[in-house]
């Protein structure tokens, strides 16, 4: 214990978490401690003391970021894990493990401390079957209301009918919204609507053109990604899935998430050369993803397939070409391997470098054109400035990350704050904006494209100079990986939309016992009501566009 420790934090003089201070802070709420590879301290707390534990950690120890809530079932108990971090330094991590009784799994909700727990706990209830006390609205989130059972629980019987008719079930349509005295209108936006970027259903209550209430209904694209990953072997069978989470060209960024967590769990080294290639590929994906975000946001505000949408796609196509040359695929790359990448840069290398350099050289001009076309357009500014305000404190409470958080002035980027790959060796900046509005989110993404270009430039320089006999693309990884029983870790990377984290628990076999995905879009989408309530419908649509969600990642 350090003498210099500030009173309201549990950090030592170096700014790292002091495990004993956490225990001191929580006192008798702690039942036990555990070992999580990522966390500085993992405490097991009483299921009826969740709220005060989380509040204490948030207010007195500075853990302001509830990254994820993982739920799982053991032979003898249920368990919820709250993965807490600090926005200032995400390497300071604490896991709060909450056991719940096998026969009656009930634990207290953490919603009072972190708003993001709302959806995360609903998902835990939906898939695993833990009941959260004091939760404001505990109902299914990914599966339909009339689903039977909790598919990730151990006694789930797949042979039983999984969905019953609405009539047999408690009819969710029975609360008819018609009320003769009401002067509001209930409007279903989606799941088939031009502005929802996929199958999102936004239940909206309108007062004239003003949005009185918004509730997102998700799950239309739920594909059991977690369960599929739990049925795949670490070595090769899981890597193809991440491409399908955020499927609009962010594939390599998602693969990075799995690579990072699995390499952490199984303790695999990655050759430096492969790390540079990974970093370059990931940033190419980020540019492609941000271009798409820009184009579709313009589509939402302009209202038609206008020039800017097509320009963004024209330039994104160049990135796609580079990625295709690199990975052999346009969408589902499956390029990373544990311990490296699948293959080296395409031959002839000069052509690949030239293609990439040509793109990077042309990029500033393209961005200039975008700024001329959209961000400096008066009508565009009229539409976007000061609409969809997301206050930084609100963003933090909802666990918002990525460009959404950075546009609200939250200086948080996993690439810099919790470095992985080759990022800490390179010279680049984290972009933040103070606008907090739709406009700031667009600007942030456009500037991040520039930063990504800087990273790619440096990677290309490095790769060009790399001595031919040191080009190791994969380290020596055992054919079958069997991490030790009961090793648990949660690791995140900065994907296109924000912090993409994966929790994995090994049980001694070659398949993960629990594979939980923390998708950035899922958390970011939760902020929509905060942005849209009290604004006009067009602003709701613009805010939704500026969140840049991909439903494949929200629903998983």
């Amino acid at each position: 214990m350090s003498l210099e420790r500030p009173q309201d934090t549990a950090l030592d003089a170096e700014g790292d978490v002091d495990p004993q201070a956490i225990l001191d802070l929580l006192g008798d709420r702690v039942l036990d401690t555990e070992e999580h590879l990522n966390a500085d301290q993992s405490v097991v707390v009483r299921p009826d003391a969740v709220e005060e534990t989380l509040l204490a950690l948030r207010d007195e120890a500075g853990f302001d970021h509830c990254s994820c809530v993982t739920a799982q079932e053991y032979e003898d108990r249920y368990e919820s894990i709250y993965h807490l971090k600090q926005y200032d330094d995400p390497t300071n991590e604490v896991s709060v493990v909450v056991p719940a009784a096998k026969d009656d799994p009930v634990s207290e909700s953490g919603n009072a401390a972190y708003r993001t727990c709302d959806w995360h706990e609903r998902e835990a209830y939906d898939l695993v079957g833990i009941n959260y006390e004091n939760h404001p609205d505990l109902k299914r989130i990914l599966l339909p209301e009339n689903w039977q059972g909790h598919p990730l629980s151990m006694d789930y019987d797949q042979d039983r009918p999984q969905v019953v008719t609405l009539g047999e079930h408690d009819n969710p349509l029975k609360d008819d919204h018609r009320d003769s005295d009401s002067d509001t209108m209930f409007l279903n936006i989606g799941p088939h609507h031009p502005a929802t970027h996929g199958v999102l259903h936004v239940k909206t209550v309108l007062d004239g053109e003003t949005v009185a209430d918004v509730e997102s209904d998700i799950g239309y694209l739920h594909r059991c990604e977690e369960q599929m990953a739990q049925n795949g072997t670490y070595r090769h069978q899981i890597m193809p899935y991440p491409d399908r989470w955020d499927y609009v060209s962010a594939g390599l960024l998602n693969e990075y998430a799995y690579a990072r967590v699995a390499e952490d769990l199984a303790d695999i080294e990655v050759p430096e050369y492969a790390q540079v290639i990974r970093t370059m590929g990931a940033e190419l994906c980020r540019i492609a993803a941000h271009m798409l975000a820009l184009g579709t946001f313009a589509l939402d505000v302009y209202g038609d397939f206008t020039a800017i949408f097509q320009y963004a796609f024209r330039d994104r196509e160049v990135v796609q070409k580079i990625l295709e040359d690199l990975t052999g695929q346009r969408m589902m790359f499956n390029y990373f391997r544990l311990g490296g990448v699948a293959w080296d840069l395409p031959e002839p290398r000069e052509d690949f470098f030239e293609l990439t350099r040509d793109f990077l050289d042309g990029l500033p001009g393209k961005l200039e054109e975008y700024h001329d076309l959209i961000t400096s357009n008066e009508i565009f500014q009229l539409r976007c400035v000061d609409t969809g305000i997301l206050e930084p404190e609100v963003a933090k409470s909802y666990g918002a990350t990525g460009p959404v958080a950075r546009a609200s002035g939250v200086d948080y980027d996993v690439r810099r704050d919790d470095p992985y790959g080759y990022y800490d060796e390179l010279d680049w900046d984290v972009v933040t904006e103070d606008g907090k509005d739709n406009y700031a989110r667009v600007l942030t993404r456009m500037q991040e494209v520039e930063e990504s270009a800087k990273i790619i430039q440096q990677c290309v320089d490095l790769l060009e100079e790399w001595p031919e006999d040191e080009r190791t693309i994969q380290s020596n990884v055992p054919r079958t990986l069997k991490p030790e029983n009961d090793t648990e870790t949660y690791r995140a990377v900065e994907a296109a939309k924000g912090e993409l984290g994966i929790y994995m628990r090994a049980d001694g076999t070659d398949k993960p016992a629990r594979f939980k995905i923390r998708s950035p879009s899922f958390s970011n989408l939760q902020t929509l009501p905060e942005m849209a309530q009290g604004e006009y419908i067009p602003d709701l649509v613009a805010s939704l566009g500026s969140l840049d969600i991909v439903l494949g990642e929200v629903d998983r």
């Binding site: 038609d304 097509q310 006009y536």
Partner: protein, 359 residues
Amino acid sequence: MAEQTLPELIADVTGLGTYGVAGEFLAAFLGAFVIGSIMLSYTGVAGPWAKRKITAAFTDRYAVNRIGPFGLLIIVADAVRLLSKELIIPEDVDRPAFDLAPIVLAGSAMLGFAFIPMGSIFGINMQIADPESGLAFVFAIASVATLGLAMAGYASSNKYSFMGMLRAIAQNIAYEIPLVLTAASVVLFAGSLQMSEIVAAQTLGGGTEPLFAIGGLEIPPWFAFVNPFAFVLFVIANLAEVGRNPFDIPEAPTEIVAGYQTEYSSVYFVLMYLGEFLHIFLGGAIGATVFLGGPAGPVLPGFVWFTIKIWAFFLFTQWARSAVPRVRIDQLIDIGWKGMLELSFANLILTAILVGVIV
């Protein structure tokens, strides 16, 4: 004196004039048939082909190029496609208002062309009627379209349609007044509501002096040159009137799906779209007549000039659609009532004073 109108010419040439009212009616019908066919074929070219080609050029795409030269035969293919689609009529719609709305929309736009002097070609004056109150009549008829929108939105019994209707009506009321007021300032110059008189006041020769001459090139006194301010106001108000960016609020695809036309399919959808394109052309025709000298122009026949001018208006709407963001509904209303209305009144009063002092 005004030229012989198209039905009069038909009556003379065919001898229908000798059959009294019935003959005149038949001649008028034939005249209307000719004009209607021309405008519909413009729309036919504009909708499936020109619109695609123009926006493709703006947005760096190819658009239709497989069927026929320049992809022109896509018009035929699209006609077959659109007409053979299933006509889906939702259960709760309010008939016959639901069925009448597309007809009112397309019909009101068509009617407007009856009074537009389209110039002459091969010695035939392409104008069906030339009443003394021509301009007022055109505006009156063009605004009947709002009724069509209201019928469509209300009868569809769909919330998106309903919102589109509310928006459309709010927008049309807000922008119809500036539109008419700016046109009225022109009437002060021309001293007449009669369309042919307005055109004559802008056409060189026959007592009209050129505005000024640059090196032997005489600039005609088109009202767009006489009062550019009014022209700009008119063009903006007209964009709102035809519902194109930045004022495509009533449809706003990414907000309220398709507005008042959400529930329309197949032939009804075609009629709705037909009505919209006709309205763009009608807006162009009014603008051309009132501000750009109607069919006036050198060398080429008047009707060709008129065609060029209305297509130029069409091109402009497509340009705006490709490049300009959409404003929000409250901003639209703000611009309409707080900006356009004041400016158009100022324009009218200033023009009235100037005309009073100079003339």
